[in-house]
Symmetry: C2
Subunit: 218 residues, 2 copies
């Protein structure tokens, strides 16, 4: 269902009814607003946001209007206010602990990544099933034994996880994460995961992004 | 312009007219087909592809029909044939050399990543501007001095690059890549890049994907 249709039929605006494609653009708006705030800016417009993101100003206004009235005609958006509202909407006005499964190159890089702080996330633990890796240091963490993954994640109440294991092991890990109570999985393995409804999966696969661009190259 | 409109007005099917959102789904189809082929399968259907990907069968048929007739009513798609066709369409029936700029955790992990082979890509060189990193080994590569990036990339005729530097340096690197002749940039830095038309940018930012999921968590 498109945003246009939602407003045409004038249904009540509960969170459940916002199309995921719209939800997916909010983090981009939030990232641009943070960038502007870091530049010392206080006010912006849908035009400026649109130019930064390559999204039309009309689309941005339409997206935001589904969540409330955040700006005034002619005066634009107060950056700090809109930033806070988007954080609330996306539930990142708090920190979500993350469990990483897979302490290889990618998992270790993500565990050491400093970009999660103040964005709503905090890496809490990292697991591997390789006895040579278990007990070693990765950034600020000691790699835990994947054999205890379900119990440890459940005990910590962690709902967000990243899979950074080889493709052949990803589905097995996903099954365990679901068993442990995880409801949001960011999958770095280049394989589609099957999960029960109520569990979300997002994919990070550089090949997918690269192939989308080579289409346009000669 | 939506795919529906394209077929409604019955315009000639040149590559230029396919919406990028459709192009963006082709690598997902290709990945699933490869997976099926690896499982020893020979034939599939839009229904099965759709179930694996969480995309409707009708959408998949519509997407593919924009590029030609790849399957027959009732018999489905020959996996190997459709895989080859998609590789041709996406221009990954060849290998594209990639230059990586930034030999930190993420850049090093990507340089060592084995997932590019047989997918149309081959990491060719990695640069950094840190004298402590230049000349060191990362996987099969010796880190090159970023000061020579423009000349080396241009001399090698490389059109595809990845940016794995801190956010504050990403735009500067992008400018140099464009100067060097790069036309497709995969940006791992959490910042929007401004590039001339004719240059494509795709973004990999785990925060964006995570925030898209926490929207649905309580």
């Amino acid at each position: 269902m498109t945003p246009e249709r939602l407003s045409e039929v004038n249904q009540p605006m509960t969170e459940k009814m916002i199309p995921d494609i719209v939800v997916g653009r909010l983090p981009l708006y939030l990232r641009s607003l943070r960038q502007m705030a870091a530049e010392g800016r206080q006010v912006t417009s849908s035009q400026e946001l649109g130019e930064r993101l390559g999204i039309s100003a009309a689309q941005i206004r339409k997206d935001l209007s589904q969540f409330g009235e955040f700006g005034k005609q002619g005066t634009g958006y107060h950056i700090k206010f809109l930033e806070e509202k988007l954080q609330e909407i996306l539930h990142v006005n708090r920190d979500w602990d993350i469990a990483i499964v897979g302490a290889g190159d990618i998992g270790s890089a993500v565990a050491r990544y400093k970009g999660f702080s103040h964005q709503g996330f905090c890496v809490a633990m990292i697991f591997d099933n390789d006895p040579k890796k278990v007990g070693t240091e990765v950034g600020d963490f000691i790699v835990k034994d994947a054999a205890n993954m379900v119990e440890e994640i459940r005990a910590a109440g962690i709902q967000v996880a990243m899979i950074t294991v080889p493709a052949s092991e990803a589905q097995g890990v996903a099954n365990k994460l679901v068993e442990a109570g995880v409801r949001a999985i960011l999958n770095y393995a280049p394989v589609n995961l099957s999960v029960p409804s109520g569990v979300r999966v997002q994919y990070i696969d550089p090949v997918i992004h690269l192939q989308r661009m080579t289409y346009y190259l000669e």
